[in-house]
C-alpha cells in the first residue's frame, strides 16, 4: 500500500521508474486498490447468472421451436395439422427476425424501447440474450432431430409409446449427442455475448471493467484482466462439455 502510494506519486511526477514498478502500480490500481477485485467478482457473478438464465431460456425456446418445426416438416402429405401450421409460421418469423438483426440492436430495442421503464437491466439483458440464443439453438436442435433415423420414431410408436415419450426418451436423447459440439459452440458464444448487456446498463464483468477504467484513466490492465477472466470461464465451460460428451458416448462402445 505504502509502496503503491510512493511509486504512484513517482509516476505522476514524471520521475524515473522501472518496468516492474510501473506494472506493480497499474496492476495494484486496476485490481487491488479500494478492493476493486470485488467489482470484477461481482461482474463475473452477474455474467454467470445472465449466461445461465439465457441458456435455460434459449434451450427451452430452442427445443419447443425445433420440435414444432420438425413435427410440421415431417407431417405426411394430406394430413396437415392446422395448429402446427400456424405455430410453424410464427416460429419461422421468430427465427428469421432474431437471426436477421444484430444482437446489439436487439438489446438496445429491448432495453430502451420495449422495457424502457424497467430498471432491471440485467434481467432485460438476460431475457434478450435468451430469446436471441433460442433462435440459433432452435436451428441446431432441429438439425439434430432430423438427423435421427426415421426408423427410431417408427419403432417407438409401433410399441405404443406416445409421441411425447418417444421424443423425450428416443429422439431427443439421441439428437443431443449429435448436436452437442454445435450446441457447446453456441453456449460459448452466449457466455461471451453477455458482455454486450453493458450497453443497456447491465452490471456484468465488462461493465465493471469499464467503470474502473473511467475511474483510473488506465485501460490496459482492467481490459486484459477481463479478457483473461472470460478465457478462463470459457475453458472451464469447454472442459465441462467435454466430460458430458464423453459420458454420452458410452453407447458407442463396441
Amino acid at each position: 500500500m505504502e509502496q503503491y502510494t510512493a511509486w504512484k506519486a513517482l509516476i505522476t511526477s514524471g520521475g524515473a521508474v522501472t518496468e516492474w514498478q510501473r506494472f506493480y502500480v497499474y496492476f495494484y490500481q486496476a485490481f487491488i486498490e479500494k478492493d476493486r477485485w470485488q467489482q470484477y467478482l461481482k461482474g463475473v457473478g452477474t455474467t454467470l447468472y445472465v449466461t445461465a438464465f439465457a441458456l435455460l431460456l434459449g434451450v427451452i425456446l430452442g427445443v419447443i421451436v425445433a420440435v414444432v418445426r420438425t413435427a410440421h416438416d415431417q407431417q405426411r402429405p394430406g394430413h396437415r395439422n392446422p395448429i402446427l401450421g400456424i405455430l410453424n409460421f410464427i416460429f419461422k418469423i421468430y427465427v428469421t427476425v432474431i437471426r436477421g438483426t444484430p444482437m446489439m440492436v436487439q438489446l438496445l430495442i429491448m432495453g430502451f424501447v420495449i422495457f424502457a421503464s424497467s430498471k432491471n437491466f440485467v434481467m432485460v439483458g438476460a431475457l434478450t440474450l435468451g430469446i436471441n440464443s433460442g433462435a440459433y439453438q432452435a436451428e441446431i436442435i432441429r438439425g439434430g432431430l432430423m438427423s435421427v433415423d426415421a426408423g427410431q420414431m417408427e419403432a417407438s410408436r409401433s410399441l405404443g409409446i406416445n409421441y411425447f415419450d418417444t421424443m423425450r426418451f428416443v429422439i431427443i436423447s439421441q439428437a443431443i449427442k449429435a448436436i452437442l459440439p454445435a450446441l457447446g459452440n453456441e453456449f460459448i458464444v452466449l457466455l461471451k455475448d453477455t458482455s454486450l448487456i453493458s450497453v443497456i446498463g447491465g452490471k456484468e464483468l465488462l461493465y465493471a471493467a469499464r467503470a474502473i477504467v473511467s475511474r483510473t484513466y488506465e485501460a490496459m490492465y482492467p481490459f486484459l484482466g477481463t479478457a483473461v477472466i472470460y478465457l478462463v470461464l470459457v475453458m472451464i465451460f469447454t472442459w465441462l462439455l467435454g466430460i458430458f460428451e464423453r459420458r454420452l458416448r458410452t453407447s458407442d462402445r463396441r
Partner: protein, 240 residues
C-alpha cells in the same frame, strides 16, 4: 383377429395398394411374398397405421383402427412390429430397449418389465447381452433383440417387415428359428419376407402381392407347387 377391407394407399398420386382385403385368424401365420415395390411393406405398415390408409377399413380385435377416435397407442401395444433394419434404440442398453415400452405405457412396473425381459432374452439365448448396447451386437443378435422387444409388450399379433433382409446369410437362420418357435407357440403372425423356405415351411397361408393387389393366395403347397398365374410362376422361377 385382423380384418382388412378394401384397403388402398396412394403416395401423392401413385397408387401403391389397390383394394386389398384380408382376414387373419388367431394363431395364423400369414406370409406375403412378391417383388420389390409390390406394396407388401406398405400393407404391413398400414396394419398398425405407420402408414395411414387412403381408403378402406382395418379392424383389429374388433376395434376399427381407421376410426380417428380409436386410441392408436393402445392398439399398437397389442401389435408387435419387427423392422428390416432392427431400429433398436442405440442410446440405451438392451435391457432398457426391452423395458422402455412396458414401463412408459404403464403395462408393467420396472421390476416386472425387467424380469419379463430377462426371461425372454434367455429364450433367445441373449441373456448375457442385457447390459450391452446395440452397437456391440451382431445383426442377427440385434434382430432377435428386436423381436424380444416387441414380445415384451405381450402383443396379440406380430408383424414382421422383411426381418432377415438386412442380415448376413449366416445370421438368417438364428432369426428364422426364433420366428418358427413363435409360430409353433401359436402366435398370430403377418410376415413380409423373401425367405421362401420360411414361407413354405411355417406359414398357414401365402399371399402373392404384385402391383398393389393380391394376385394369388393359398396354402404354401398351392402357391409353391401349383402356381396358377403366369406372374407368380415367373416370380417363383426367379427367386427359387
Amino acid at each position: 383377429m385382423i380384418d382388412v377391407k378394401h384397403l388402398s394407399k396412394n403416395f401423392e398420386g401413385l397408387e401403391v395398394l389397390h383394394d386389398v382385403s384380408l382376414h387373419v385368424n388367431k394363431g395364423e401365420c400369414v406370409v406375403f411374398i412378391g417383388p420389390s415395390g409390390s406394396g407388401k411393406s406398405t400393407f404391413l405398415r398400414c396394419l398398425n397405421l405407420l402408414e395411414i390408409p387412403s381408403s378402406g377399413e382395418i379392424t383389429f380385435d374388433g376395434v376399427s383402427m381407421t376410426d380417428p377416435k380409436t386410441d392408436i397407442n393402445k392398439m399398437r401395444q397389442k401389435m408387435g412390429m419387427v423392422f428390416q433394419h432392427f431400429n433398436l434404440f442405440p442410446n440405451m442398453t438392451i435391457l432398457k430397449n426391452l423395458t422402455l415400452a412396458p414401463i412408459r405405457t404403464k403395462q408393467a412396473t420396472k421390476e416386472q418389465a425387467e424380469k419379463k425381459a430377462m426371461d425372454l432374452l434367455k429364450r433367445v439365448g441373449l441373456q448375457d447381452k442385457a447390459n450391452s448396447y446395440p452397437a456391440q451386437l451382431s445383426g442377427g443378435q440385434k434382430q432377435r433383440v428386436a423381436i424380444v422387444r416387441a414380445l415384451c409388450m405381450e402383443p396379440d399379433v406380430m408383424l414382421f417387415d422383411e426381418p432377415t433382409s438386412a442380415l448376413d446369410p449366416e445370421m438368417v437362420g438364428e432369426v428364422l428359428d426364433v420366428m418358427k418357435q413363435l409360430a409353433a407357440e401359436g402366435m398370430t403372425m403377418v410376415v413380409v419376407t423373401h425367405e421362401m423356405g420360411f414361407a413354405r415351411e411355417v406359414s398357414n397361408r401365402v399371399l402373392f402381392l404384385d402391383g398393389g393387389t393380391i394376385q394369388e393366395e393359398g396354402t404354401p403347397d398351392q402357391i409353391f407347387a401349383h402356381p396358377q398365374t403366369e406372374r407368380l410362376r415367373s416370380f417363383l422361377a426367379k427367386v427359387l
